[in-house]
C-alpha cells in the first residue's frame, strides 16, 4: 500500500506540474500581453518604453525561467493580481469557490441518493417498464446539451410559469434561506439531472451484478427486507465502482458547472474562468483553471486510494 500510495502521489504531482507548465506556456499565445494592453491604453508610450517595461516585469526572460519564478511565488501563496477586477487573485477566488461548492455540493447531495434509489428500483426489476423508463432518463441525461436543458428550464419555470428567477444570486438588504433556495433551484436542478446520467447507469449496473451473488439469495432466504438487502448487502459490493465514478465525475462536474453558472449568471468558478478569458485576464484564468485541474486530479487520487481500500483484490504491492 505504501509504495502504491507513493507511486500514485508522484504521478499526480507530475501531472499537475505538466498541466501547470502547459497552461503557463499557453499564456504567451493569447491575444495581447499585459504590456500590449498598457500600450493600447496609453498612446504616449513608445516602443522603447514597452521594451523597458517588459524587462522590468521579466517578460523578456526565457519561458522556463518565468515559469519557475511563477511556480515559486504560487507555492508561497503569492498568486498575483487580477487585471480585470484589480484585486489579488486569492481574494477573488474564495467567494467564487464557495459559490461553486454550494452549487455542485447541493446537486451531488440530491443526485447521489436519488440515483441509488432509482438505480435500486431499476436493478430490482430489470426489463420492466419502470426499468426502461429509468434507463431512458439516464440516456437522455447523456445526450442532452447542458446549456439547452438550462435554457428550457428557464423558459418553463421563469418565462412561462414565472415561479422562479431566471438566474443571478440573491441580492438585497435581507437575504433569507428562501431567497437562496429560489435562486439555486434551477441551476441545481440542471446539474442534478445531468449528473444523474452516469450515476444511475453505474448504480444500476453495480447493483444488478451484486444482486446475483449467492449471499443475496442467502440474505433473502433468511427473511431480510428488500431495503435491507439493497442497503446492507448489495450496495457495499457496488461501492468501489461508485467511488471511482464519483471521482471521475469531478472533471465533468466542473465542465457542467461552467455552463450552468454561465447560463444562470451564478458567480462561481466556472463563470469566472470564462469571464477571465473574455477579459484578457490570463493570470486569473491560469490560476482558476489550474485550481480546477488540481481538484480533479486529487479527487482521482483519493478515489484510487479509497478503491484500493474498499476492494482488496486490486491492491497492488
Amino acid at each position: 500500500m505504501g509504495t502504491y500510495l507513493l507511486r500514485r502521489g508522484l504521478e499526480t504531482a507530475t501531472s499537475i506540474l505538466v498541466v501547470a507548465f502547459l497552461l503557463f506556456a499557453l499564456l504567451d499565445l493569447m491575444p495581447g500581453d499585459p504590456i500590449d494592453l498598457m500600450l493600447a491604453a496609453d498612446p504616449r508610450l513608445t516602443s522603447a518604453d514597452a521594451a523597458r517595461l517588459r524587462a522590468l516585469h521579466g517578460l523578456d526572460r526565457p519561458l522556463v525561467d518565468r515559469f519557475l519564478a511563477w511556480l515559486g511565488a504560487a507555492l508561497a501563496g503569492e498568486l498575483g493580481y487580477s487585471r480585470l477586477f484589480a484585486l489579488p487573485v486569492t481574494e477573488i477566488l474564495l467567494p467564487r469557490l464557495l459559490a461553486t461548492l454550494a452549487l455542485v455540493g447541493t446537486s451531488l447531495a440530491i443526485a447521489l441518493p436519488l440515483s441509488v434509489l432509482l438505480g435500486a428500483v431499476a436493478a430490482l426489476r430489470p426489463g420492466t417498464r419502470l426499468d426502461r423508463a429509468i434507463n431512458l432518463l439516464a440516456f437522455l441525461a447523456f445526450s442532452v446539451p447542458s446549456f439547452w436543458l438550462a435554457l428550457i428550464l428557464i423558459v418553463v419555470f421563469a418565462v412561462l410559469l414565472g415561479w422562479l428567477p431566471a438566474g443571478g444570486e440573491p441580492v438585497g438588504p435581507v437575504v433569507g434561506l428562501a431567497d437562496w433556495v429560489r435562486h439555486l433551484a434551477l441551476p441545481v436542478t440542471t446539474l442534478t439531472l445531468l449528473g444523474l446520467g452516469p450515476l444511475l447507469r453505474f448504480v444500476r449496473a453495480g447493483l444488478l451484478e451484486a444482486l446475483r451473488e449467492p449471499c443475496i439469495r442467502m440474505a433473502r432466504a433468511k427473511g431480510a427486507s428488500t431495503a435491507r438487502v439493497v442497503l446492507r448487502h448489495a450496495l457495499p459490493q457496488a461501492a468501489p465502482a461508485l467511488v471511482t465514478i464519483l471521482a471521475l465525475q469531478t472533471g465533468g462536474l466542473l465542465s457542467g458547472a461552467l455552463v450552468v453558472e454561465t447560463v444562470f449568471a451564478w458567480p462561481g468558478m466556472g463563470r469566472l474562468i470564462l469571464e477571465a478569458i473574455q477579459g484578457n485576464d490570463y493570470n486569473l484564468a491560469l490560476v482558476a483553471v489550474l485550481l480546477g485541474t488540481v481538484a480533479t486530479l486529487l479527487s482521482n487520487l483519493a478515489a484510487d486510494l479509497a478503491h484500493a481500500r474498499l476492494d482488496p483484490r486490486i491492491r497492488p504491492g
Partner: protein, 313 residues
C-alpha cells in the same frame, strides 16, 4: 475476432439501431439538400430583414424568423450542416489519433505502453471544458497563421476539430490497445511474427481488420460527443462564430430573446438532442452487435459524456 461479416445482420436485429440510423441519414440528407431547396422557395437564412424580426411560424416561413429576420428553418439546416460536419471531422480525427496511439502502445510494450495509457487516463480525468475555454482563446496569429486565415470560418472549424480530437483520443486508444493485445496473443499472429513479419505488416494485415468493430463503435459514440462539444463551445462564443450558423451559436442568440421568443431556443437544442441520442443509440447497438456476449451480461459500459457531468470513458 472475425465479427465483421455478421455485424450488419446482427445490427439489423436490434430494435433501436434502425430508427437511429434512419434519423441520422434523414438529418444528413436534410442539411445537404435543404438549404438550396429552401432558397428555391424564397426562404432566406442569411439576409438580415429587420422589418420581419421574430416572426411567428406561418405561411412562407415554416418556423418563423430569428432576431435578425432570417428564416429559422433554413438557418437550422445550414447550422446543422456545420454542426454535423464538425462532428464527423472531429470524431474521425479523434478515432485516427486514438487508433495510432493505441497501436503504438500495444506494439511498443513497457515502458512506452504504460506511459501512454497513464497519459490517456489523465486526459480522460481532466476538467474538459475549463481547459478548452483556455485553449480556444489562443490567438491563431501567435502560432504563425496570417491574419486573414486567422479570422476565417474555416479556422473556427479546424480549431474545434483539433481541440476535441486532442481530448477525445484516449477512449479509442484504450479500446484499440486492448483489442490489439488480444490479437497479438493469438496463435496465427504469433506465428506470423515469428516468421519475421514486420510490425507494420502485422498491424495492417492482422490487427487492424480485427479492430474494425471497436473502432466503429468508438467513432459513432464520439460523433455524438463531438457534436455536443461543438455546441457547448459555440454557445459560449468560443467555437463557430456568427454569422456562420451552428446549432450551438444559434442558442446564444436565442438566450437573449428568451422572454420575447422562447420558441427560438427550442429547435436547435431539440436537433442536437435528437442527433446525439441517435449517435449514442447507434453506438450502443453497434457495440452489442459486435460483442453479443458482453451485451447479454452487459454491466457497466459507462457513457462517455464528459461534456455534461459524465466521467468514465
Amino acid at each position: 475476432m472475425r465479427a465483421a461479416p455478421t455485424l450488419g445482420a446482427r445490427l439489423a436485429r436490434t430494435t433501436s439501431a434502425r430508427p437511429a440510423a434512419l434519423l441520422l441519414a434523414a438529418l444528413a440528407l436534410a442539411v445537404t439538400l435543404g438549404p438550396p431547396i429552401g432558397r428555391g422557395f424564397g426562404l432566406d437564412g442569411e439576409g438580415i430583414d429587420l422589418l420581419h424580426r421574430l416572426q411567428p411560424p406561418g405561411w412562407g416561413r415554416p418556423l418563423g424568423t430569428d432576431e435578425l429576420g432570417r428564416d429559422l428553418f433554413v438557418r437550422l439546416l445550414e447550422g446543422g450542416r456545420v454542426s454535423l460536419a464538425v462532428g464527423l471531422l472531429g470524431a474521425l480525427l479523434a478515432a485516427l489519433a486514438g487508433t495510432l496511439i493505441g497501436l503504438l502502445a500495444a506494439f511498443a510494450r513497457a515502458p512506452l505502453d504504460g506511459l501512454l495509457m497513464r497519459v490517456a487516463d489523465i486526459v480522460l480525468a481532466l476538467p474538459l471544458l475549463p481547459l478548452l475555454v483556455v485553449l480556444a482563446a489562443v490567438d491563431p496569429q501567435e502560432i504563425g497563421l496570417d491574419a486573414e486565415l486567422a479570422s476565417s470560418a474555416v479556422l473556427d472549424v479546424a480549431r474545434i476539430v483539433v481541440l476535441v480530437a486532442a481530448f477525445g483520443w484516449p477512449t479509442t486508444a484504450r479500446l484499440v490497445r486492448a483489442g490489439a493485445l488480444a490479437i497479438l496473443a493469438a496463435e496465427h499472429v504469433r506465428a506470423a511474427r515469428a516468421l519475421g513479419a514486420a510490425p507494420l505488416r502485422v498491424a495492417l494485415r492482422h490487427v487492424l481488420p480485427g479492430l474494425a468493430a471497436p473502432i466503429t463503435v468508438a467513432t459513432t459514440l464520439a460523433l455524438g460527443q463531438v457534436i455536443l462539444g461543438e455546441s457547448v463551445l459555440s454557445f459560449l462564443g468560443l467555437g463557430i462564430r456568427p454569422p456562420t450558423p451552428s446549432w450551438g451559436n444559434m442558442l446564444t442568440n436565442a438566450q437573449e430573446t428568451l422572454w420575447q421568443a422562447p420558441l427560438l431556443a427550442l429547435w436547435p437544442g431539440l436537433l442536437i438532442l435528437a442527433t446525439v441520442t441517435a449517435c449514442n443509440l447507434l453506438g450502443d447497438a453497434l457495440a452489442d452487435a459486435a460483442d453479443p456476449r458482453a451485451a447479454a451480461g452487459r454491466t457497466a459500459r459507462g457513457g462517455p459524456s464528459r461534456w455534461n457531468c459524465g466521467g468514465a470513458g
